[in-house]
Symmetry: C2
Subunit: 362 residues, 2 copies
């Protein structure tokens, strides 16, 4: 554990600022001069304006290179039999990420992004690897049905890990951050966080994760309900709860790190492409801690997990892709990257009516 509590996260919080309105307006005005009917590129034009607002520059820089950071952690709630996958798979998948054979490796290579894996809370000891950063806060969370996932200090440490990794990754040259996650049982903790932050009931935000059967799903819903009831009874989950306390009580180490990472990216003024339900659970905590940070976030895709849609609605984010994916790892966000980069290139490279000698409509 090398992070210094709160330092990187506090710096990031202090640096958060709104999108640059002049750059957004200039991007919009430039879109109107390009050789195409106004608005014809749809979402691409909105993304281009957002990128300009993030960078305070129009046309905006292309968000390239990008780095996918996969935060990995384990979950005490795994013991409640919410998933048929053994807990050891978290560590095995971390090894697969480091060896380059997982979906996120294939997809990141395809879109020209790097992959960094950060152990923020895997239960098992991990073999060192050049692709792996050891920032383990604790070896997995406690079982949220009976006690808080972690202490508030541990949540602060995990937020700090995320913020520090974001700052380091941008300092190393990344111009776009992509959220990734790995943790067996983490969709259960995500459902609890999403229920807590959106006010929805457990059954509405609990999904089938890796593809569980009806019986396991019903058990998973009850587990989320028990966790929420426990957090209410210990005074954490109130009508206006403290976001940090909720994160510590119901979350996971990777969600806390993802919240810090998404805020850290916004502080560094690079776009943060947010993946599926686990990343969105972290993003809800992040948005509660730093509402203006959301201006720098792009929802990569709409996961099939119901909690993802609930979180997207709450955050006011419209996903770029909707491909029926539910893998995590950053896989959906990674596939959105070419669209985001295209949005910047359209503004930077397209001819205008004037320069191309094309007649405008009457």
């Amino acid at each position: 554990m090398t992070s210094r509590p709160d330092e990187a996260f506090a710096r990031a919080l202090a640096a958060i600022a709104p999108l640059d309105r002049a750059a957004v307006a200039e991007a919009g005005a430039h879109q109107a001069r390009l050789t195409k009917p106004r608005g014809a590129l749809g979402r691409l034009e909105d993304l281009g304006a957002q990128l300009a607002g993030i960078a305070a520059e129009a046309p905006p820089p292309v968000p390239d290179p990008a780095t996918v950071v996969v935060f990995a952690g384990d979950h005490g709630v795994w013991a409640e039999r919410v998933t048929p996958w053994p807990q050891e798979v978290t560590a095995q998948m971390v090894s697969t990420f480091c060896a380059g054979g997982a979906a996120i490796n294939v997809l990141a290579r395809h879109v020209g992004a790097g992959v960094l894996v950060v152990d923020v809370g895997v239960k098992a000891p991990l073999d060192p690897s050049p692709a792996l950063v050891d920032r383990k806060v604790r070896p997995g969370t406690a079982n949220i049905t009976t006690e808080p996932a972690m202490t508030v200090d541990e949540a602060r440490l995990a937020l700090d890990v995320g913020a520090q990794v974001a700052a380091d990754t941008v300092a190393a040259g990344a111009r776009c951050l992509v959220t990734g996650d790995m943790g067996i049982a983490n969709t259960t903790a995500s459902a609890a966080l999403i229920a807590a932050f959106t006010g929805r009931v457990a059954a509405d935000v609990t999904g089938r994760g890796t593809g569980i059967d009806d019986l396991t799903w019903a058990r998973k819903v009850r587990v989320v309900e028990r966790a929420l009831a426990r957090a209410r009874s210990d005074g954490t989950l109130t009508a206006r709860p403290d976001p940090l306390a909720v994160l510590a009580s119901l979350g996971g180490l990777e969600m806390a790190a993802l919240a810090g990472f998404a805020i850290g990216g916004a502080a560094a003024r690079v776009p943060v492409v947010v993946d599926g339900v686990v990343a969105l659970a972290g993003a809800l905590a992040g948005a509660a801690l730093a509402p203006l940070a959301t201006g720098c976030w792009v929802a990569g895709h709409r996961s099939v997990e119901p909690g993802a849609s609930a979180a997207l609605d709450h955050l006011g984010l419209e996903p770029v892709l909707d491909l029926g994916m539910r893998l995590g790892e950053g896989s959906g966000a990674c596939l959105a990257l070419p669209v985001l980069q295209a949005a910047a290139k359209v503004l930077r490279e397209m001819a205008t009516f004037d320069t191309a000698g094309v007649t405008e409509k009457t």
Copy 2:
């Protein structure tokens, strides 16, 4: 005009065959061995299986390099004031494509695809360019409210241009074809074709094209109704019409070429990524002429044009992207290319549970 009527198109029609079922099944079985929960990559897994079926090879080859072919033509129905854009813009945009400054050039460069422009019916004479192929069948169509767009022989010639260009492009090394189109007023002819092939009424399939006002839209709907009425009264549009006669009567030279192109790609067993409403109007004609060709088609995106959704439903195609785009040129299809290529790479490059030493679920 260099095409020999029917030869390339007849060869393509004769070569159309169903997807290879063994390769589709082998791709599905391999997906289940990869280090991810079954089905977790959603649409990517379906696309991977389709690519395997097209190539009769599992894992399938990556559909790269790809070439966007932009078929350009003018429309006599422009005279009915269905658009505020001058007709000369078709030729000006062809020049912009050749100069590399249009949206499709930027997007194709971004995804590593080539761009070829084929003049199949632009009204004005065009300056030669290395990026431009002159296969002009006639300088624009006739006004479809009063007479057939072209003769059946001209429609055959345009189909042949498309099929020949597909064959030539694949022979030159392309492993994926992307449809593109340019033609001022071509969403009007597309609406007429889509109404004819899907049986929907004009108002349901007529859109705002480049972004017309309410008055122009109402006029455009009446123009489409008049064209359909004319085709009914001259005996072309019947309960079971001849697809070629409908194409000639209500279509456009670029739609006819696109139909031949999409069939030619299927004949060459490469995926054809179909763009928006104009490409889909051509695809409807193509599917009527060669129903099995649709197995090799991928709908790149859902254009905001209502006719596009009507055509997608009729063709049974689920679009990859939904980005609120309505530009044409192949722009939406081009952005779907990275997703399609990712689908192949997942099958080719991901580790299996066995090789990665990851424990499967209980």
